[in-house]
């Protein structure tokens, strides 16, 4: 018969403190549950907000304008080249690009297909700042066709007022297939172009045309070479960076808050969940400390017996491993129970909080499983070291 914990158990169990042992089990369970469910919530928040914010590859894109006040109303509140260069020099701004507007007048209609005509504005922006740039968003002199990138918000607005003007509501796909005509008027004459929406942008609330088209029309129709921009787009690591916000406020630049709103909500939620995870770690540490007190007490109370076992030829490392191994099933049970509870909470979150099914994966994230395995390994290792240390000190 192989020696096991069962053989030495009668020599160790005398006078053990069951209350502190069970308290440490409960504490460990609560701590692990807090940590795992916080990590799961963190990934859920990331998942839910990922598609709705302006972040791309870890970067925020925001647009700024000069704040219009009663004092500066009469002045030119557009950005000069020097303003843009200064913005580009700031360490918290990765890049800045002006959103250049048309100096000529533009009106758009849909020909005979839809009885609709309106004056519009068009703008040009460096394509690196645009979230959706198809290959055909290009224009060269002599082209009769102009590609357009249209704001999804504008399409939504159109679909709101279209029924009351007896106009058809349109999906993105239908809107993309409508042949448009852009009529450009200037001091030096008129030009008409065919146009079509080639992409929709979540990020930029504008009607975008290729930069070179805009520059050429401004020059030809109005004789303007370099028109100052009213809006500037910024590329930054974090749109909520206090340094950035303070700088912009100091310059009296107005930030388009809509586009950073999700970033801020996400930041706050993540901070709350991170706080909970931190609290979970604290509870785990406290539980492990309590458990270590229980173990030390047990070893101290069994000191004479343990010493005699060592004297009789029991190996300290065998005793440490055997005593420590005894708690592996306990740790496994606690951590598996916490994992199951996290899965249940995750399902509850999906059922009661997320509006549409299928937005989140059904199973908890792999990082939660990885953390659970790591915690198990950590608990067993701490336990083993503690027992070995206590036995060595006998």
């Amino acid at each position: 018969m192989e020696l096991s914990y069962k053989n030495i158990a009668p020599f160790l169990t005398a006078g053990q403190n069951k209350v502190s042992r069970w308290l440490s089990y409960v504490g460990l369970g609560v701590g692990v549950l807090l940590l795992l469910s916080s990590v799961q919530m963190y990934t859920n928040i990331n998942h839910l907000i990922r598609d709705k914010n302006t972040r791309k590859n870890g970067t925020d894109f925001i647009s700024i304008t000069k704040t219009i006040t009663n004092e500066n109303m009469g002045r030119d509140n557009r950005f000069t080249d020097a303003d843009i260069k200064e913005l580009q020099r700031q360490p918290f701004i990765e890049d800045a690009a002006p959103l250049k507007a048309n100096a000529f007048k533009v009106s758009a209609n849909a020909g005979n297909m839809i009885p609709f005509s309106t004056d519009v504005f068009v703008e040009g922006l460096n394509t690196n700042f645009i979230d959706t740039v198809p290959d055909n968003f290009k224009w060269k002199e002599g082209d009769e066709f102009v590609p357009v990138i249209f704001s999804t918000d504008f399409l939504e607005m159109y679909n709101v007022f279209a029924p009351s003007w007896d106009l058809p509501q349109m999906s993105e796909k239908t809107a993309s297939s409508v042949q448009l005509f852009l009529l450009c008027h200037g001091r030096n004459g008129d030009r008409q172009y065919k146009a079509r929406i080639v992409a929709f942008s979540d990020r930029i609330n504008s009607i975008l045309v290729p930069e070179n088209f805009l520059a050429q029309q401004n020059k030809v129709l109005e004789g303007v070479d370099n028109i100052p921009a009213s809006r500037v787009f910024l590329k930054t690591k974090d749109a909520n960076n206090p340094q950035l916000l303070n700088y912009l406020a100091g310059k009296e630049y107005h930030v388009n808050k809509d586009k950073t709103k999700f970033g801020r909500v996400k930041g706050v939620l993540q901070a709350v969940v991170s706080g909970l995870a931190g609290f979970g770690v604290l509870v785990i540490l406290l539980a492990l400390v309590l458990f270590s007190f229980y173990l030390q007490l047990m070893i101290a109370r069994s000191k004479d017996n343990l010493q005699l076992l060592l004297t009789l030829g029991y190996s300290p490392s065998w005793l440490s491993k055997t005593v420590a191994k005894k708690w592996i099933p306990v740790y496994v049970s606690i951590i598996v129970a916490a994992l199951l509870a996290t899965q249940l909470l995750h399902l509850g979150f999906q059922h009661f909080v997320t509006p549409a099914r299928g937005e989140l994966p059904i199973v908890i994230d792999w990082t939660v499983l990885a953390i659970a395995v790591l915690l198990l390994a950590l608990s067993v290792a701490i336990n083993y070291r503690l027992v070995k240390k206590s036995l060595t000190e006998l």
Partner: protein, 213 residues
């Protein structure tokens, strides 16, 4: 197998106390298969000597070698293996688990490095007259019975040397002889040495060497 003593003197001995001893401050060796009887009056360091040989204490000068390995250099793991396989002991103060049964006391040693089957425990207990005590708590046994438990416990493992520190102090003549016979049979079976220390000469211990501490 050999245990060699090289000029071993307890640290706590006053100068000159080791003079005249046939063991202290001498070069001497014990080999497997021989029986060594050490006679020592009270206070001559008899128990310290046995504890030095078993590696429980290191407060001595000189060296104790087991097959040319200095046991002072053994770590806890090496001592554990050595005590499981090579050396067994009966302590003067017995060192039993008093809150466990007699059988648990014997099994905890037998299971460590089983030399005999479990049934042999019952046979030995019967031979030494404590069979009826096997299921009883050790603390309920008399000192004489506990002495016999300690003797049976020491015989549950393989060994090259069996160390006995006044093993019969609380036994009557009849039980002394029975216990001695059992130990000599077990040592012979293992071709092991017995090193026995006592206050006076024990006639029924067939020793090849008689030494005065």
């Amino acid at each position: 197998m050999q245990i060699s003593l090289q000029q071993v003197v307890p640290d706590f001995f006053e100068t000159g106390k080791a003079n005249g001893s046939q063991l202290w401050n001498q070069d001497i060796a014990f080999s497997t298969g021989e029986n060594v009887h050490i006679i020592a009056p009270s206070g001559s360091g008899k128990t310290s000597f046995i504890h030095f040989l078993y590696g429980l204490r290191k407060d001595y000068s000189g060296n104790i070698l087991y097959d040319n390995n200095n046991i002072k250099n053994y770590d806890a793991e090496k001592f554990a293996t050595w005590r499981q396989q090579n050396i067994s002991i009966i302590f003067q103060d017995l060192r039993l688990f008093t809150q466990q049964t007699v059988l648990q006391n014997l099994e905890i040693k037998r299971l460590l490095a089983p030399y005999h089957k479990e049934s042999r425990i019952t046979a030995m207990a019967k031979r030494l007259g404590i069979e009826s005590k096997l299921a009883k708590l050790c603390s309920t046994c008399s000192y004489g019975e506990q002495q016999r438990i300690a003797i049976i416990r020491a015989l549950q493992q393989p060994f090259d040397f069996l160390l006995l520190d006044e093993p019969f102090s609380h036994l009557d003549e009849n039980n002394r002889q029975k216990a001695m016979e059992l130990m000599q049979e077990e040592a012979t079976e293992r071709k092991a040495a017995i090193i026995l220390t006592d206050l006076k000469k024990i006639d029924y211990f067939k020793a090849e060497r008689l030494l005065y501490l």
